[in-house]
């Protein structure tokens, strides 16, 4: 029995961390947030093989497991990396590999030369007047908060849990500013946009959704860990009343509570990612609970870490708010915790 990461996985983690630390420091995140490009970040990650991780070997990828991807997602969250990881490296490869027929596109995704965004909002929890319909090879309607803003294609999920592929050039795309400036979202308007049916099997949609949810949870795990680390560091340095504030129980207990809530989340994310590939009976339920639980813990850590930083935590100077908002959007994307827990209940026949 070995519940943890393999040597290869630790190596992968180290490589991604080193790249993000060196190439995507907070100044560069800020530059992206102010309207800059993420092309260099994604190109660098492509060199590390990140978009190829989940692409099958036969399609030009590396064919690794969801757990490998979760390790990368955690690092992306830790560094609030502005990268189209969720769509291009996780959900699109998962969906496109379901039934074959997309070998060429998968190869381009693996190489990092093509990006595929996701528009799942209308299937997960339709808001406002958005909805999509497909007829005669054409999509109509609109999607809100599709990610990412610079994708070449979009994987669109409909209310009946079918998935479609549409080219960005065939849709009208409008930026939708959100509080989270580390990942840009858009509104997609379809006007008889030519689209391909990727899958009309709801199970394929659910598999794609589950892995997306686990990756968002992993991203939150990383982001929250970064916030805890920063809070501990700050509390050791900052002095008031002639003492480091970290020596006051009021402050150190906040840090202990963050650690106590967050540490089991690591095992949970690992297990949920492992289950996606190896424990099909448990995969859906653990994915739902992991998404919801990390959303709650992420919210708690984001608030508490900000409070440990005092007034500085509230400022743009420290930049802690990038992590706060990252946790916040991970919480809402692909289903807010209450909605996902209701799914968990339904899976067990409790609804």
């Amino acid at each position: 029995m070995q519940f943890g990461l393999s040597e290869e996985q630790v190596l992968l983690q180290d490589n991604v961390k080193r790249f993000l630390m060196e190439q995507v420091p907070l100044e560069k995140v800020r530059a992206y947030a102010d309207g800059g490009s993420d092309a260099d970040f994604w190109a660098g990650m492509a060199e590390l093989g990140v978009p190829a991780l989940l692409v099958p070997e036969a399609d030009g990828g590396i064919g690794l497991s969801p757990l490998d991807a979760a390790i990368v997602a955690e690092s992306c969250g830790y560094h609030v990396a502005p990268v189209p990881f969720l769509g291009s490296a996780v959900m699109a490869p998962t969906a496109l590999a379901c039934n074959g027929g997309y070998s060429e596109l998968l190869g381009e995704i693996a190489a990092g030369s093509v990006r595929v965004g996701i528009a799942f909002g209308e299937a997960v929890g339709r808001r406002i007047d958005a909805d999509v319909a497909f007829a005669d090879g054409k999509l109509s309607g609109k999607s809100l908060f599709a990610f990412d803003a610079e994708a070449d294609f979009y994987l669109v999920a409909s209310r009946d849990h079918h998935m479609y592929l549409v080219a960005a050039t065939d849709v009208e795309r409008k930026p939708l500013t959100t509080v989270d400036r580390t990942r840009r979202t858009v509104e997609l308007n379809y006007d008889a946009s030519p689209a391909q049916l990727v899958s009309d099997n709801p199970q394929d949609y659910l598999d794609t959704l589950d892995i997306g949810r686990v990756m968002l949870a992993a991203d939150t795990l990383g982001a929250a860990q970064a916030m805890l680390d920063q809070a501990v560091e700050y509390a050791k340095q900052r002095e008031q009343f002639n003492r480091p504030i970290g020596s006051f129980q009021a402050v150190k207990h906040m840090c202990a509570e963050m650690a106590a809530h967050l540490e089991p989340c690591r095992a949970m994310v690992w297990f949920a990612a492992h289950a996606l590939a190896d424990l099909p009976d448990e995969a859906r339920l653990t994915a739902c609970h992991t998404k919801a639980h990390l959303a709650e813990v992420g919210k708690f850590v984001a608030k508490t870490s900000t409070e440990v930083h005092g007034g500085m935590g509230f400022t743009d100077l420290v930049g802690l708010h990038y992590w706060f908002k990252r946790c916040g959007s991970n919480r809402q994307w692909l289903g807010a915790p209450e909605l996902v827990r209701e799914e968990a209940a339904a899976l067990q026949g409790l609804v």
């Binding site: 029995m1 070995q2 519940f3 393999s6 809530h261 095992a267 690992w270 492992h274 609970h289 639980h293």
Partner: protein, 396 residues
């Protein structure tokens, strides 16, 4: 990631199952400490290696090599079969491991075998009215007079003192030494003249604890574990054992399943509680937390098997998170029942013999006992996160 225990353990699991099928009729259900049934069952378990498994044969145990996976399989199978896992208590779970590590050969010969067989029942004399979280400030004194220690002082929160034959007790023997270095670890009989036991009723209205008073209690000099002034070191080894055993996520899972069943049978206005989305969401929140703690437990278990894996923080948070989670879980059951959740003792509407009410209160006790949640947070922040310690104040 490899979650299986491996095929070599399947035979072992099968052996445990066969034992349980053959002998489960002898398993006492909630038998009292010294009943013949309980003692016979304990002996059967030891003879077959399902209790006192790693205690050397020379001291009355089964004499197996420590193997975490085997222990886990035994625990799982006993839980699955709802078989009595054998005797527990502070003598078996805390004193025996300590004696094996720090006791003299004579102490091991004298105490281990009768303790694990249930013939010698122990209580633990640590906390005092003035020494709770700051245990090392304890003041019960032991002064050497010839070949005997003379003990004076008071202990509190002493569970099973009224049932115990012996006590393992922390006393101050070196009043002039720094507080952690002036403590010794003594063993003595509870029927020694000068010991008075007063039951301490807790919020469950049971007397789970006692106060124990010592007035010129005379104890043979050699009944000390470790050297004079080493008692704190001895005691800390035991506290480590205690923290590991509190907040076990597998027991919590059993309670979660019972809670889910409760929600399917309890109704309000004719509607099953499980069909009420507000209560259902609370159940799902708890289920998510239980899941996180179960996986955390697997990670801790794995780190004990694979020594290169570090899960020290994962282990450190178990007592805090596990007891708080369990209290929340039991509390949800009370809310599910509403007024019925207030029923107590002879109330005809009492559910599950009042176990929800009892556990809800009992786990508040466990949040406080064995190192309060606040002490746990000190430990997590200072040892786990390397944060600065609270400045110490000189004694006034």
């Amino acid at each position: 990631m490899d979650l299986s225990f491996g095929p070599e353990y399947e035979n072992f699991r099968q052996d445990v199952r066969t034992f349980l099928t053959t002998h489960s009729d002898k398993s006492p259900s909630g038998a009292s400490l010294r009943s013949d049934d309980a003692l016979a069952w304990q002996k059967l378990l030891i003879d077959n290696g399902y209790a006192a498994r790693t205690i050397p044969k020379a001291y009355g145990g089964y004499g197996a090599q420590p193997n975490i996976i085997e222990s886990r399989i035994i625990a799982e199978e006993f839980a699955e079969a709802r078989a009595n896992p054998g005797l527990g208590g502070q003598g078996i779970s805390m004193l025996v491991p300590t004696l094996l590590e720090m006791g003299t050969e004579e102490q091991k010969q004298t105490f281990v075998s009768p303790t694990i067989h249930g013939d010698m029942v122990w209580c633990q004399g640590y906390s005092e009215p003035g020494a709770g979280s700051d245990l090392a400030s304890l003041t019960t004194s032991a002064v050497l007079d010839g070949d005997e220690w003379v003990i004076n002082g008071q202990k509190i929160w002493t569970s099973t003192a009224h049932l115990a034959d012996w006590i393992f007790c922390l006393v101050r023997t070196e009043p002039d030494a720094p507080k952690h270095k002036g403590i010794s670890f003594l063993l003595f009989k509870m029927d020694t003249p000068g010991i008075e036991i007063r039951p301490l009723v807790d919020m469950t209205l049971n007397a789970n604890f006692n106060e124990v008073f010592f007035t010129d209690v005379r104890v043979p000099k050699h009944q000390i574990v470790g050297q004079r002034g080493e008692g704190w070191m001895v005691a800390n080894a035991i506290l480590g054992h205690e923290r590991d055993s509190l907040g076990n996520p597998n027991n919590t899972l059993t309670r979660l399943n019972a809670l889910t069943e409760l929600m399917k049978t309890e109704t309000v206005g004719g509607e099953r509680m499980i069909d009420n989305p507000v209560y259902r969401d609370r159940l799902m929140s708890i289920q998510g937390r239980v899941m996180a703690m179960r996986f955390n437990d697997l990670r801790v278990l794995s780190s004990r098997i694979n020594k290169d894996q570090d899960a020290s923080l994962a282990r450190m948070i178990v007592k805090l998170q596990g007891t708080e989670l369990r209290h929340d879980l039991e509390g949800l059951a009370i809310d599910i029942m509403g007024e019925v959740g207030l029923a107590f003792e002879d109330n005809p509407y009492l559910r599950a013999a009042g176990s929800w009410q009892y556990q809800y209160m009992y786990f508040l006790g466990l949040i406080i006992g064995g190192g309060t949640s606040q002490i746990q947070k000190n430990i997590i922040s200072e040892r786990g996160l390397d944060m600065p310690r609270e400045p110490k104040f000189e004694k006034r």
